[in-house]
């Protein structure tokens, strides 16, 4: 917990998205359905209507301050509420002031403009309540405890780590570098903007297997295959993220702002259990760059990946399915 040298509100600001509309390049507006955002996921998907020619998005917001914000004996004055949109990939920071819905109320609302030219993938949206405390202007009194994710590409409002799956013939792809991996069924590329799994269509039947539906042995084998791929991906992205860490002038590693940060926050609790993720990151970084401990950590990294890939479940179902099949063939 952080300690502040002045009075603040203990509880977080609650932020809701109330509407999303896109301004298209021909000047018209498209009001997106409510499925474009999810309060539970705290995510907005601007790609949901399939427009590729949008110029800007207007996100309608409402924020509720925690109790005590408007108390008559509050330690602050000049209360204002600000929505802030940041994007670590494009260094964008835009803010919009919200207005109070009713005098003395705790609800504030307004809107924030998101320009398509300003973002490649995801931006992060937070709300800050700010006031003058003990003569100091601009003090943060309360903020949202979890940022909303504004995804400028996705067609589904989900947060969490995203993965791109591409199918390609490694022998004949226009991506000639895939040729070097022609005998692999799949490879993981963590150097792309979003980690990507390339599935080699030269392996006969692999696409048929991956696309198989139904409840037969096929689908169990498919799930097992997917779990195997996912394990590979999680291991690769973890190493990719740890290998790319920026180090502050003081010496500590900094959480990346893009998918690498998401991956680390998700996996670190399994890699170094029982400590804060910041501390876990420091420990992992120390072990990788220091003299010892990196090799020993590999088992934990593998464990964290296997858990995320649901490998145990996939294996259990596949085994049960095989047992059933064997029984049927015996009778």
């Amino acid at each position: 917990m952080k300690i502040y040298p002045y009075k603040r509100l203990n509880r977080p600001v609650v932020l809701r998205v109330s509407s999303v509309s896109l301004k298209l390049s021909d000047g018209t507006r498209d009001q997106l359905e409510t499925t474009a955002y999810s309060t539970q996921q705290q995510a907005v998907a601007l790609g949901i209507a399939g427009h590729t020619d949008w110029v800007s998005a207007t996100i309608g917001l409402s924020a509720t301050l925690p109790p005590g914000a408007t108390a008559s004996d509050a330690a602050w004055s000049d209360l204002c509420v600000l929505a802030v949109l940041t994007d670590g990939e494009t260094n964008v920071r835009t803010s919009a002031a919200l207005t109070r819905d009713a005098e003395d109320g705790r609800d504030w609302s307004g809107s924030l403009e998101v320009f398509r030219d300003d973002h490649l993938g995801r931006a992060s949206l937070s709300v800050h309540a700010v006031g003058t405390v003990e003569g100091v202007q601009g003090r943060s009194i309360a903020e949202t405890d979890r940022n909303w994710v504004v995804d400028t590409v996705s067609d589904e409002p989900v947060r969490g780590f995203q993965l791109d799956v591409q199918k390609a013939s490694f022998k004949r792809s226009s991506r000639e570098w895939l040729l070097a991996y022609a005998d692999a069924p799949w490879i993981v590329d963590t150097s792309a903007r979003v980690p990507t799994v390339f599935v080699n269509t030269d392996v006969e039947g692999v696409i048929g297997l991956l696309d198989s539906s139904g409840s037969g042995v096929d689908s169990k084998v498919r799930d097992l295959l997917v779990a195997q791929m996912a394990t590979d991906v999680w291991i690769a992205v973890f190493h990719g993220a740890i290998g790319d860490l920026e180090v502050e002038p003081g010496g500590g590693p900094v959480f990346p702002t893009d998918w690498q940060g998401e991956v680390l926050r998700e996996m670190l609790p399994d890699v170094i259990p029982g400590v804060h993720v910041e501390e876990a990151l420091r420990q992992v970084h120390r072990r990788r760059t220091g003299e010892s401990g990196w090799v020993e950590l590999q088992t934990r990294i593998h464990y964290a990946a296997v858990r995320r890939a649901d490998a145990s479940k996939a294996l259990a179902y596949a085994i049960r399915s095989l047992e059933q099949m064997n029984r049927e063939s015996e009778t």
């Binding site: 002045y6 803010s95 320009f115 601009g138 570098w177």
Partner: protein, 292 residues
């Protein structure tokens, strides 16, 4: 020292980071030998044909001039090249965030510039001269060309590149501050430059100390409230980009003009400059004895 590859493409393209490795050879990193260019051309993804911005010639001519002009003192090339590269290669931030573009520029278009600018000096500890691979393909604030473009983008004051020259003239500033999130707030960026311009902050330790103090204070202060910025009009940037095809080559002596966006409100810059100056008074700086 290497020269340009025997085949230099006429147009910029996208080079995936995963495709870079075969060309990022040990010989290249030691600046002994560069690839021929033909094989690299096979693995790139082309950019749209009808866009004049992707022509390589204006960029080649800029880096050649920079290497000639600053042959005696290569670090000074940053302050000259950053605004000129930015005004020549007109990009939206969305486009500039695509690392594949910068990979191509560094590996295919001007690898000899990367070598010229970033080949390390031989020292007692490291007698082998070497270029860090991140100068070819790496984080935006490290890669040879993207760091200059982003420095220009983040430190320009609307169309005015003068603050960019000041910021890039100080290696410590672009080296440490460019990676920090605080710089995304335009008035903060301008206030930092102003402290540099009026001599209140100079060396690397001072800049490190000050930026750490700004960051620490930012945990409880919302600078957007202390020093508000105007909302940007995205149409201005679009127009500037659309004019790229008809724009004259950037001046070699005079600074070019950036996109016609509104400058940062002067009151906001002034307020933050004096606030940071106060903060700097009390900030712990290595090597400085506390006063009072």
């Amino acid at each position: 020292m290497i020269t340009q590859p025997s085949h230099v493409p006429e147009r910029l393209a996208l080079l995936a980071t995963s495709a870079v490795d075969p060309f990022l050879t040990e010989e290249l990193l030691r600046s002994e030998q560069v690839h021929g260019g033909i094989d690299l051309a096979k693995v790139v993804e082309p950019l749209p044909e009808d866009d004049a911005r992707w022509s390589v010639e204006p960029i080649r001519s800029l880096v050649e001039d920079a290497m000639f002009e600053f042959r005696e003192d290569r670090t000074r090339a940053d302050a000259w090249l950053a605004p000129r590269l930015h005004a020549t290669l007109r990009l939206t931030r969305r486009e500039a965030a695509d690392k594949r573009l910068w990979n191509h520029l560094a590996l295919a278009v001007a690898p000899e510039y990367v070598a010229w600018r970033h080949l390390s000096e031989a020292t007692a500890n490291r007698p082998d001269r070497r270029i860090a691979a991140e100068r070819f393909r790496g984080p935006a604030d490290r890669q040879c060309f993207s760091r200059l473009w982003w420095a220009a983008e983040l430190f320009r004051n609307g169309p005015d590149y003068e603050p960019v020259v000041a910021a890039c003239g100080n290696q410590d500033l672009i080296h440490t501050v460019l990676r920090m999130e605080l710089i995304d707030h335009r008035p903060t960026a301008q206030a930092l430059v102003r402290l540099l311009q009026n001599g209140q902050v100079t060396g690397g330790r001072e800049i490190n100390g000050l930026s750490t103090a700004i960051n620490a204070a930012g945990a409880t202060l919302v600078y957007d409230v202390l020093a508000p910025d105007e909302p940007r009009d995205p149409a201005r940037l679009r127009e500037w980009i659309a004019e790229a095809g008809s724009a004259l080559p950037v001046g070699r002596y005079e600074l070019p003009m950036g996109p016609d966006e509104d400058p940062v409100p002067e009151e906001s810059v002034a307020a933050l400059t004096s606030y940071f100056a106060d903060l700097f008074e009390t900030a712990p700086i290595r090597g400085r004895t506390p006063q009072g």
